[in-house]
Amino acid sequence: MRKSKALLFEMSHAGRQGYSLPSCDVPEKPVDELLPRKLQRCEPLDLPELSEGEIIRHYTGLSTRNFGVDTGFYPLGSCTMKYNPKINEEAAVLPGFAYLHPCQPEETTQGALELLYNMEQDLIELTGMDRFTLQPAAGAHGELTGLMVIQAYHRQRGDYKRNKVLIPLSAHGTNPATVSMTGCEVIQVPGDERGLVDLKALKAVIDGTISALMLTNPSTLGLFEEEIEAIAKAVHEAGGLLYYDGANMNANMGYTRPGDMGFDVVHLNIHKTLSTPHGGGGPGGGPVGVKECLIPFLPVPLIDKKGEGFCFNYDLPESIGKVHSFYGNFGVIIKAYTYMRMMGAEGLKQASTDAVLNANYLMNLLKKTYHLPYDRTCKHEFVLSARREKKKGAGAGDIAKALLDRGFHPPTVYFPLIVEEALMIEPTETETKETLDAFAGAMEDIAKEINEDAEKVIHGPYHTVVGRLDEVRAARNPILRWNKEQQL
């Protein structure tokens, strides 16, 4: 049963029924009285017909195929598949929060406002910024908000020529996409042989048309940009601002702050650094923090302290406007706030310490077997190259499949683009030494198998519900929906 791949439609038997509806408790009326004929469907709905037991087994079976941090090691580099503490969920469903309506008057929602206010104060302390908006729904949304704030700042000063944004080659793909969304032009900044931003090359492209530099620190290579102060100085001297992509803030908590490094705007991915659930289409959170000079441009409303209580502040005439309905995804903010309060300042620092320690431990185990292009102390993640294995016949994608057979979720593959056959590994802070050793063992085993029989590896996985999928055909000719005619 667990291996069954049949769809509900394919399991259907005419006349079988798995529901019993209660009798109608309002007077029944003919459909024609309620809906005009032209809006009515003429053919019956072709729904699958199954028994209750079949449906339960089908969905329970599907649920056992999920792979998550709660079921196994998930070192998906750059995505930070961090453990989501269960207490976060309990806090978010407290009736006092869960039953609030966003249109309730301010004086009846003081507790919620206090939480949002306190969350902002904690983020200010964590990042060294001056104010935050909690509205953006995720990291990329935060990037757009932050760049719009920067553009509004330049324009308010009458500075209309700044339409270029500098982005290093190691950046997340969302950065150039965000720049395009704001109508600016991307200028790529090359890296040097250490994998860091090439300061000389950066200085060569800086001029009076630069709006901002977007930088992730540590970068997607897991390396800390050591020259950040010189970088910040060069950009600021030319009148540009610095944008901090907070994707990797989980490596820095309690050690260094973007505000102290010279950044003017920062977004945080709270599903990464602050342990809220990841993926599945949200809801997410991407708070954006700014320095003093940019506060007037933040989305409205801000939440201010007023006497003993809290209030919405809509009085920002130069605001870029709202970027989300109401006040952002409140439930997710509750989860992040719960995590921060549970951990405390020392606990958050410890999380970064352990994330960095785990990454360095695993990197040192794996560099004995795999090529490590940038061999220096890393932060929370590192990038191996499977180019040697590729020459023997099996590359990063094949290694990923082989890991599935060994019970591990693969690392990120083929990103960042600056590393050929990239395997990007982020163990996170919660993993034990035993888990890291087991993963390293599996990776060594795969390397050995590629040496002995690469052909076998390129046809895997063998023990998963489905084997090697035809990714090319899926991309070129996607079938997105079940279709009765197609089956016949």
């Binding site: 083929y414 991309a475 070129r476």
Partner: protein, 132 residues
């Protein structure tokens, strides 16, 4: 040499090629580039009449591994695009210098073309890339 590198083309460090045809140049991706990208599943072509600038993105190539810009080898105005690639992007994989051509431009500056790498120089460059 593992990769097919042919005569009479000019190559860039980003692995595009340009072939001169009168006052126009045909642009495509080298065999090395298509091999590194893997199977190509989607191509976004430039518009006819668009101005392309040397070193700037001019088309988008998507493979199962990555989405990447095709940088224009030289300046020019797009006069023709290979619409066959919309339905058969895999032509870049199977025939990068023939059926897999991407677009054709009117050449602005002849000098830009001869400043690119010829076959021998590009061969050396690819060997260097492989040894890195």
């Amino acid at each position: 040499m593992k990769y097919n590198i042919v005569d009479d083309l000019w190559y860039t460090e980003k692995h595009e090629w340009a072939r001169r045809e009168g006052n126009t140049a045909v642009i495509g991706l080298s065999d090395y580039a298509q091999d590194k990208l893997g199977e190509i599943v989607f191509v976004e072509l430039p518009e006819i009449g668009a101005e392309v600038e040397a070193g700037k993105g001019s088309a988008v190539i998507e493979s199962v591994k990555a989405v990447t810009d095709l940088y224009a080898p030289i300046d020019g105005t797009v006069v023709e695009v290979n619409e066959e690639l919309i339905d058969r992007p895999e032509a870049i994989n199977s025939d990068p210098y023939g059926a897999g051509w991407v677009y054709k431009i009117e050449i602005k500056d002849e000098g830009q073309l001869s400043a690119l790498m010829d076959r021998q120089a590009y061969e050396k460059y690819v060997i260097g890339e492989e040894e890195k």
